[in-house]
């Protein structure tokens, strides 16, 4: 019964995007532009560097995958909560006889489903024609798929964490920029962590953001020797974040009640 309700929310948010169809093309163009910038830079660097430093077909594939994975992330959940706080919809949402986090998760899942079908798949097909991408080794396929799923979960938890922090800051503007900064560097969306200098590489490895772009791409390219171990660590991150989020959630609820909604 409840599962059905969640799937209904998922479908609802999916079809909500259908009505903004006109934006689909521009989103795809946006993806291609980002991939194009990155590919151009890698090509330029490849031309002036010794071949052992940079494998161009590898880097093209890396760019296409991280850019695509970015479209599947659920960090934007905090924007959804923020607009609900502003409009007061959050009160009616909280009164629904379902678990609120799960409701948000399925709502985001609908969005991701839409992005996958109408944005990621077409973008990858175009990228395939324009730039060409490597295929993964069969043994990396399963860990890659798991890493995608993990990227969604971790991004959801990070987005949810930001939303909860926003309860205290009362604005998401500053958090939005800060999160953007962290993602730009530590998710490895453009520059893979293997090119970082030792200090920044170590820092990046200590943070969960690497799971939002770098890890899936690196697994796809076979750059990680023990992918399952890395994925296990990722699950550890998910569990930790889940704990923190739950703790903050109870504090936030208390605060909401004290403030009188």
């Amino acid at each position: 019964m409840t599962m059905r309700a969640y799937l209904a929310y998922c479908g609802k948010s999916f079809s909500k995007h259908i009505s903004y169809r006109s934006e689909v093309w521009l989103r795809i163009i946006g993806n291609i532009v980002i991939m194009f910038i990155q590919v151009s830079i890698w090509k330029s660097l490849a031309a002036s560097s010794p071949s052992h430093m940079l494998n161009i077909s590898e880097m093209v594939t890396y760019s296409v995958i991280t850019t695509s994975v970015m479209n599947l992330l659920m960090t934007r959940v905090y924007q959804s909560i923020d607009s609900k706080l502003q409009s007061g919809d959050i009160c009616s949402d909280l009164q629904k006889p379902i678990s609120y986090p799960w409701y948000l998760f399925f709502e985001q899942l609908g969005t991701v489903g839409f992005q996958l079908l109408f944005n990621v798949v077409p973008s990858i097909l175009i990228a395939l024609l324009l730039f060409g991408i490597q295929l993964p080794e069969a043994s990396n396929l399963l860990p890659f798929l798991i890493s995608l799923f993990l990227a969604m979960i971790i991004s959801f938890l990070i987005g949810y964490l930001v939303a909860l922090i926003a309860f205290w800051f009362l604005t998401t503007f500053a958090l939005n920029w800060t999160l953007g900064a962290l993602m730009t560097v530590f998710s490895g969306v453009f520059v893979p962590i293997w090119f970082f200098n030792p200090f920044w590489a170590e820092l990046a490895n200590m943070l969960p953001f690497q799971y939002l772009g770098y890890i899936p791409s690196a697994i796809y390219l076979g750059k990680i020797e023990q992918p399952y171990l890395i994925l296990l660590q990722g699950c550890g991150w998910a569990a930790t974040l889940l704990l923190v989020v739950n703790l903050l959630w109870w504090k936030a609820i208390k605060r909401l009640i004290v403030q009188g909604g």
């Binding site: 006109s22 934006e23 521009l26 989103r27 163009i29 946006g30 532009v33 980002i34 194009f36 910038i37 151009s40 830079i41 090509k43 330029s44 660097l45 002036s48 560097s49 430093m53 940079l54 800051f169 009362l170 604005t171 503007f173 500053a174 958090l175 939005n176 920029w177 800060t178 953007g180 900064a181 962290l182 730009t184 560097v185 453009f190 520059v191 090119f195 970082f196 200098n197 920044w200």
Partner: protein
């Protein structure tokens, strides 16, 4: 609109901003972090590869800083009014700007002036000064004037780009996604455009003249090319701005239903 009236608008906007001081300061911190990340990525890249298209880190910092600084100046004027147009039209609020005895364009620019770019200006100026101190530029009177004018021209190009997005909403109403796309495109000039294929270089020079914002001035100032035509760079900004303002006014006439 007189300068005095414009400053009166600025005074009022500053006062509304001060009603939300804490938000403003927090936002600044966030924005500085955001841009610091953009610089950091390029620094990390050059830490590994030394040069991009023959450009070293201080030169790249110069290139990016000029882009961010001119964007900040241009966007202070045109970001909020132009990106708000879609909503103004949908809610019918644009009408309020058409019943005053002043030009609707300057009225919009004045009432939506955005002080929120102080963070952009701070970080870009700091890195600009740092990069210039680490670069070997001969600063004669001519170079200084040239640089001032290219900054001005660049700001006008940046402002003009945003005006085109606003004009889009006057013709076709929905412009949100155009805005999103523009923000992805405008970062192409954070790298030397010689890294791109010939077609894209032509587009960035003659169709969307973004290369005039930072790439061409940098070529001249950093002694990377000595083409006399580079001296004409500061002319492009004012021309482009005038063109976009003209297109915007055509859009307003369209909105008023003069065409049909």
């Amino acid at each position: 609109m007189s300068v005095k009236l414009f400053f009166h608008f600025l005074k009022i906007i500053m006062r509304t901003r001060m009603e939300y001081r804490a938000d403003f300061l927090l936002g600044m911190v966030g924005q500085i972090l955001g841009y610091a990340a953009n610089y950091l990525i390029v620094w990390l890249l050059l830490n590994r590869f030394t040069l991009i298209e023959g450009w070293a880190w201080p030169e790249m910092a110069f290139l990016i800083s000029v882009n961010v600084l001119t964007y900040a100046i241009g966007a202070s004027f045109t970001y909020s009014p132009m990106l708000s147009l879609e909503q103004l039209i949908i809610k019918g609020d644009l009408d309020k700007y058409l019943i005053k005895p002043i030009n609707p364009f300057t009225y919009l620019i004045a009432s939506f002036f955005n002080f929120g770019y102080i963070a952009h200006i701070l970080i870009s100026v700091v890195l600009l000064i740092w990069s210039l101190r680490n670069l070997d530029v001969h600063w004669g009177v001519f170079e200084s004037i040239y640089f001032m004018f290219t900054l001005l021209s660049g700001s006008m190009l940046q402002a003009g780009g945003l005006i085109l997005i606003g004009s889009w909403s006057l013709y076709f109403m929905k412009s949100q996604f155009m805005g999103d796309l523009y923000f992805k495109i405008k970062d192409v000039i954070n790298y030397p455009i010689s890294a791109y294929t010939a077609v894209i270089q032509i587009v960035l020079t003659w169709i969307m003249p973004l290369a005039f914002i930072n790439y061409f001035p940098a070529l001249y100032l950093l002694d990377k090319a000595d083409n006399i035509a580079l001296l004409l760079v500061p002319v492009i900004g004012p021309l482009f701005l005038l063109l976009t303002i003209f297109i915007w006014h055509r859009g307003i006439h369209q909105y008023q239903g003069a065409g049909s």
